[in-house]
């Protein structure tokens, strides 16, 4: 294939205008020994051949009829409106809206995104999004050290292990100390040198933390320490107490659940929100509403760019120079499409269906729920023979739950199970039957 419109005559005409004969004369600034390197690249392909080749590769991945796997990436139904909107190429082929007057459509959508995210989370302000949940958490950690001028952060166990790794990498870059502690050790670990405490709720193991209680505890121990909450499936905000109602300072989340396909884990959407007083320390793009300079009409533009790298360079609050605009647009269209009633219903079904499975599994010999607290759509279960369970799931066309030893090698025969509104009753019954068979074979 070829996407260059010129024919040979046009190229010849243009070269003539330039007063040169050979297009390679345009590269005379490049030292000769660096030119004309040999490339070992394949021949060009036409569209039908290309599509066939890539479809064939795709078939080496397996698609399942139903999934019990979550752990940071979730199967929620995606309304048809979402792909329709993000396929409008006026949106997806545009750049960061530097020329506001020619980019009002996107800017307005981002303003609406910021509005809907701040309503959903009840946080004062939302930026126009970050790369994903993990990097948003890392940026939140760094932001907290800029605000407090302290360089140690505490991570409460139960944050997604990959998120912890990302936070560690970012913090190592800046010389920030990272300490991972148990929630009950907060009392011993929190002192005046602590910048912030990071906690995930619902956490990686599925537990819903009582964030009001947690925030009160932190405030009592050190009123200057910032509270950062992270979430990997914010669909729970359809029913659960939002971070803005529980005194959280910075709230971040992975927004993939809002209308973004799993896509093997990326792209996702980094939701980033904070209390208003931290606005000028916040990383990422912000869209603001203003008026015409010579008129009265309201419009939208990128604002507070004085925080950003293209003006502040090394003094910027972050190096981030884009948002994840198209994914933010997906989330906006998703939230509008399901609406208030729908989001509440979806979240409720997630709880009801995972509860249904939990109740059925505990009745099976050898199965034990490990969560001590209420859960949203994920829970931890001890299984008599996990390997068998995983194999049987696959045989029955179910994407099996996460073998938690993938992240925690010491935790054997334990699975993190995820159930969403997209699991039909039939798929739940199928899973329960598999569990029964595994139990009978193993425990007799």
């Amino acid at each position: 294939m070829d996407f260059i419109p010129h024919d040979d005559d046009t190229i010849a005409d243009m070269l003539k205008d330039l007063g040169i004969n050979d297009i390679l004369d345009l590269f005379k600034d490049i030292p000769k020994k660096l030119l004309n390197t040999e490339f070992d690249l394949p021949e060009a392909m036409s569209e039908p051949n290309l599509l066939k080749k890539i479809s064939d590769i795709s078939k080496k991945n397996k698609l399942y009829s139903s999934s019990f796997l979550g752990a940071g990436c979730y199967y929620h139904y995606i309304p048809s409106t979402v792909d329709f909107v993000i396929s409008r190429s006026e949106f997806y082929t545009s750049y960061t809206p530097y020329q506001a007057e020619a980019s009002q459509g996107y800017l307005q959508a981002m303003y609406e995104y910021q509005t809907i995210i701040s309503r959903l989370t009840q946080m004062d302000i939302s930026n126009a999004s970050m790369y994903d949940g993990s990097t948003a958490l890392a940026e939140a950690a760094i932001m907290s050290t800029i605000i407090t001028n302290k360089s140690t952060i505490l991570l409460i166990e139960g944050i997604h292990p990959e998120y912890i790794d990302v936070v560690k990498t970012y913090c190592w870059g800046q010389g920030i100390n990272v300490k991972i502690i148990k929630e009950e050790d907060l009392y011993n670990e929190i002192n005046e040198d602590i910048s912030s405490v990071l906690i995930q709720s619902p956490n990686f193991f599925g537990d819903i933390i009582d964030m009001s209680l947690f925030s009160r505890k932190v405030r009592n121990l050190n009123p200057k320490c910032l509270i950062v909450q992270v979430m990997t499936d914010p669909s729970c905000l359809g029913i659960l107490n939002p971070p803005g109602a529980t005194d959280v300072d910075i709230f971040v989340a992975e927004g993939q659940s809002f209308g973004i396909s799993p896509n093997f884990g990326g792209p996702g959407l980094g939701i980033f929100t904070a209390k208003e007083k931290f606005l000028r320390k916040m990383p990422g793009r912000l869209v603001g509403k203003t008026k015409e300079l010579f008129g009265e009409q309201e419009g939208f533009l990128l604002t507070l760019q004085a925080r950003e790298q293209h003006i502040r360079r090394e003094k910027a609050s972050s190096n981030i120079c884009t948002n994840q605009a198209l994914c933010a647009l997906s989330a906006l269209v998703y939230l509008l499409s399901v609406g208030k009633t729908g989001l509440k219903e979806i979240a409720t079904q997630n709880v009801q269906k995972s509860d249904y499975l939990k109740k059925a599994l505990v009745k099976i010999k050898g199965f034990k729920i490990l969560n001590q607290r209420p859960t949203y759509n994920e829970f931890m279960i001890e299984v008599p023979n996990l390997k068998n369970l995983l194999i049987e799931c696959k045989k029955n066309d179910l994407l099996p739950p996460l073998d938690i030893s993938h992240y925690f090698p010491n935790m054997v025969n334990t699975a993190l199970v995820c159930v969403t509104e997209s699991n039909s009753r039939e798929s739940l019954e199928k899973f329960i039957n598999i569990a029964k068979i595994v139990s009978e074979v193993t425990t007799g």
Binding site: K28, I30, T81, V85, Y92, S94
Partner: protein, 476 residues
């Protein structure tokens, strides 16, 4: 006209079109989760489906993309985004697979294959496709540098960055814990070798971050001397691949002496910019830096592609899961579609187009660095009469149905107007743009008010940015 906000279209009627019917017993939520954990109210609107669709179609009409017309935004490489890539990215066996599922060999194959292709194109020995954007790639590359020198020469904690660099370079270097030595470009827009050597002699400099061709669109003729000086003093050379497009198929960063490179798949490899993301910023390195690449690391074995989660020298993880796979897939399709010959033509034609515009536009506009350029060139506002500013020019360009070039960057040119046409614009489009620029120049002379009050033909007139920043309104 600006549309009313979607929140004004709320109705008191719920839309259940997208919610599966509950097929188990409807147990009251409060029996499962204690009431104190539940939210009291939720204020997102219920809007009828038809109104949502119309709203966004109307918003899209108020937005300019590459598919609308030429987008000559310098250093952004706004080329055509082939439609087959969108089809490929939506194949269900890619779009619906989970990052933690076992049966993923197709996805891993794409990642490994694209890494191999990028190695061939740039000359590097290994790639990570984890970074989610160009700036994220910069951070990753600099963390690699940091880790390398922590091991071999911990004194080296500074980075040299020329003043022509993208703003992300110094910001990324700071995020990786380096302090920055800014080097002033010389009168020909290139790196001054004597100052470079002086800085390196101090012994505490880890290396240089360089964009080549630089943001003036100029290829640094001393590139081999530059990388040689850095290497002589034990430093590493970082290549900012934002401007790789013009040298695609012409020259390779590795051969120039670079040790670390990031690419922008959303620039050079045609994945859509999406209005500012998602992008992808793969990082390539030479052999000795491969052990420092982020986790997880992939390699090929007889039994298939293997993923190694931990590696003692690695900088660690820089993003959850596998990078922006959906973007990676599009870039892979693009490279396969073009093949060797197609890729070689990109560099040539993008440079041809830029130079064609350069020699035409310099007839009316001041071109501070007047020599053969690569993919882009930078005009200045010098000589524009009647107090007309670069911003005025840009806004007037919008009136004629084109997007404006990058303005006020690079900082080393006053009132800069940075133009990058890319290889996918036809000669007639270039000619149209040139004619409009001429016309605007005449207008600046004769009817300056037309420019100062522009734009008029956009959905909204020029916006008040000062008040917006002073009293930010960030939500309804």
């Amino acid at each position: 006209m600006i549309q009313n906000l979607i929140f004004t279209k709320e109705v008191n009627k719920s839309n259940t079109n997208f919610i599966p019917k509950l097929d188990i017993e409807n147990i009251d939520l409060k029996e499962i989760i204690p009431e104190k954990l539940l939210r009291k109210d939720l204020v997102i609107p219920n809007v009828p489906e038809v109104e949502i669709v119309r709203h966004f179609v109307q918003l899209s009409n108020n937005n300019y993309g590459v598919d609308t017309g030429m987008y000559p935004l310098g250093s952004c490489t706004m080329k055509y985004n082939p439609k087959i890539n969108e089809v490929v990215a939506r194949l269900p066996h890619f779009s619906n697979i989970h990052p933690l599922q076992d049966e993923n060999q197709g996805a891993l194959e794409i990642i490994v294959e694209l890494s191999t292709l990028l190695c061939e194109i740039t000359g590097m020995d290994g790639f990570t496709l984890q970074p989610a954007a160009g700036a994220h790639g910069e951070l990753t590359g600099l963390l690699l540098m940091k880790k390398y020198f922590e091991k071999y020469d911990p004194m080296k904690n500074k980075i040299i960055i020329p003043d022509s660099a993208h703003g992300t370079n110094p910001a990324s270097a700071k995020m990786a814990g380096f302090s920055i030595i800014e080097l002033q470009s010389n009168e020909s827009g290139e790196v001054p070798l004597d100052q470079l050597e002086f800085a390196m002699k101090q012994g505490d400099v880890a290396g240089i971050m360089l964009t080549n061709p630089n943001t003036l669109g100029l290829f640094d003729r001393n590139i081999l001397e530059i990388t040689n000086i850095i290497h002589t003093y034990g430093g590493l050379c970082y290549y900012d691949g934002a401007n790789l497009n013009p040298i695609l198929g012409i020259s390779r960063p590795r051969d120039m002496g670079f040790d670390i490179i990031h690419l922008n798949l959303h620039k050079t490899f045609s994945t859509p910019h999406g209005g500012g993301g998602p992008g992808s910023g793969p990082v390539g390195v030479i052999e000795k830096l491969i052990p420092f690449l982020p986790e997880p690391c992939l390699f090929t074995k007889k039994e298939g592609i293997i993923c190694k989660e931990k590696n003692s020298d690695s900088i660690g993880r820089i993003k959850a899961f596998w990078g922006n796979f959906g973007v990676i897939l599009r870039a892979y399709a693009y490279i396969l579609a073009l093949g060797e010959r197609g890729l070689r033509n990109i560099g040539k034609v993008s440079v041809l187009n830029a130079n064609y515009m350069r020699i035409k536009l310099r007839e009316k506009y001041f071109l501070p660095y007047d020599r053969i350029c690569q993919h882009e060139f930078v005009l200045s506002d010098k000589g524009i009469p009647n107090g007309v500013t670069t911003e005025d020019l840009a806004k007037r360009i919008l009136d004629y149905g084109f997007y404006a070039p990058t303005i006020y960057f690079p900082l080393i040119v006053n009132g800069a107007l940075m133009i990058e046409p890319t290889e996918t614009e036809s000669k007639s489009n270039l000619d149209k743009f040139i004619q409009i620029m001429f016309k605007i120049h005449d207008e600046a002379q004769n009817y300056p008010e037309l420019l100062k009050s522009a734009p008029k033909n956009t959905p909204i007139g020029r916006l008040d940015a000062v008040t917006a920043a002073r009293k930010p309104i960030l939500k309804e």
